[in-house]
Symmetry: C2
């Protein structure tokens, strides 16, 4: 990996906006301290630098606002076949993984996302045995799945090997998930992978994707959800990253509407707090296929007190059964829209 | 109010950090577009401008991170006896009120804070009649209190008249709370006001304060909580702004510990999502005095379906009974600390 940090010669860290506009109109970008970063100084000096020493996150997905973290040191910059990858040491959120200019995880708050996206589905069904993770290359979801003693097989399909390598190098407490012997890693396209899965294979599919702009685009579309439903056993469950109720109600409406057509069991929206995600929240779409009824709001497979088999993973920091049920309670403005689509 | 925007001659908008350090070390400040703002151009040009056209929030209360909003137009800048006051039109969060460099409310997300800080206490007791609001000069809490038909008397004690005037001018849908004939406004120090209140006067006291640095400092200390407890009837309730579980567990520990000593009824912590507050969440300390038992987690006085008497206030956007109960569910890391102090 060390060699790859030289890749920056072709990598302007500043993100190109998808709408083709430049970011000069108050745009935000990355500027970094140069000492010991192993980066190409000339490249960094050429970057637009609006908050010296800070990383700021801007995107047409959340126009008019930006969250910034103070950078202590850039640890890695690379350009994979799919996206720009940055890891930096922040001054107060630990190490931070950034893909295409968007924060994916920080050491300080990753527990909230990883624990909720995993245990919301897995604690909602008895004895999950076969689990598929789409995306989630950092390994955090694997770490959480591996807390479940009933699980016998954990498949993961991640498109971008650089994300996996970077996580193993810089986020060992996240990538620890890969050390579980039940894990089989497939590097490739999740959409294609799912199409090849025999019908009814999995008890649970967890889709840990980035935003629907970029490589994860297809993971928010109807054909993908159809493949997921087919890959699940009757009464099997899907949990997919489903954006923010404060920012993306239109995307959420579409996801709920698509899922309601495809999943003939339960269709529910849940959310949680993640400080370094835009608007401070992230949502999850929870669906089950026709078969044994799944009541997502009332976990039947709690793990709160059962941590004996996951010493290497550390204790749960965020998830508990109360938070599980609470996650499905929605503010009135969101409940109104989601309930109308989920019926 | 229009004249007061000339006050900027003595008002560098850039916030002085309370620890005496300058903000040059990657500090964030305000820069504004000048056209039609009615501001003193020379003063604005002298301001440190690190993100042209954006307002950024930095504070020793949340080191190493900053949330920024794009500014369309500065509508007001003034310096009151207590604090710097700014109102600006943001590009995506509506109008924004800033006190001493810290965002107090935006039109887009103020519903979450105002509805939760008000209805968590008022829906937890039957037929509240007398309510005191400390702080809350913008009027949003008044707007929410006035939805409760049982309430006969609403007193508010706000220290800073400029906040009230600015809210009435720029945030009419928030300041609408002042139009309720049950409201009596007292301009002055909340600590002194409470000391003069006859014992057992109020059913509920709502403390809508800014952070414990600056004018609201005393509102987080034990003597203040003692005054609140004295001002409440037996089984009366207090709800106070109580910071972020992600950022301020040490402050929260102290608040819980102080309240547990002073309030002999229930002592519970709740939280909600507010995108423009640091870390995206804000918490509330809910306490009751000795007397009829208050079970904060299970509202006895719901208002979900009862909106007939509040047409001028608009419908509830955020609060509902499910959100009420869910607000008391805490992530494991916070639950552990808070439960240990609340017993």
């Amino acid at each position: 990996m060390a060699e790859e940090s030289g890749v920056t010669a072709d990598l302007p860290v500043k993100r190109q906006r998808e709408d083709g506009e430049s970011e000069d109109n108050g745009g935000v970008s990355v500027s970094v301290e140069l000492e010991d970063s192993g980066c190409n100084h000339n490249e960094l000096e050429n970057m637009s630098s609006v908050i010296p020493g800070w990383f700021s996150e801007i995107s047409p997905m959340w126009p008019g606002e930006a969250h910034s973290l103070k950078v202590e040191k850039i640890l890695f910059q690379g350009k994979s076949e799919y996206q720009n990858v940055i890891v930096f040491q922040s001054s107060t959120y630990g190490k931070v993984l950034v893909l295409d200019g968007v924060i994916q995880l920080t050491e300080r708050d990753e527990c909230a996302y990883q624990e909720m996206i995993t245990h919301l589905p897995l604690c909602s069904i008895p004895n999950p045995k076969k689990v598929l993770v789409i995306g989630g290359g950092d390994g955090g979801v694997l770490r959480e799945v591996s807390r479940h003693a009933s699980v016998e097989q954990i498949d993961i399909c991640e498109i971008d090997k650089m994300v996996i390598d970077v996580s193993k190098q810089f986020f060992p407490r996240v990538a620890v998930g890969y050390e579980d012997s039940r894990v089989t890693l497939h590097i490739g396209d999740g959409v294609a992978f799912l199409k090849a899965v025999p019908q009814g294979t999995y008890d649970a599919v967890i889709v840990d994707s980035s935003d629907p702009i970029g490589p994860a685009q297809e993971l928010f579309k109807k054909p993908f959800f159809e493949s997921v439903a087919k890959a699940l056993r009757p009464g099997g469950v899907m949990c997919t990253q489903a954006e923010s109720i404060w920012l993306h109600m239109h995307i959420i409406e579409d996801i709920v509407s698509n899922c309601r057509q495809i999943f003939k069991g339960s269709v529910n929206y849940a959310w949680t707090t993640v400080p370094t995600y835009p608007s401070g929240v992230i949502g999850f779409m929870l669906c089950s296929t026709e078969g044994p009824t799944v009541d997502f709001k009332h976990p039947v497979n709690p793990i709160d007190a059962d941590e004996s088999h996951c010493k290497s993973n550390g204790p749960l920091k965020f998830y508990n059964s109360e938070m599980h049920t609470a996650a499905f309670c929605l503010p009135s403005f969101a409940k109104k829209v989601i309930d109308s689509k989920a019926k």
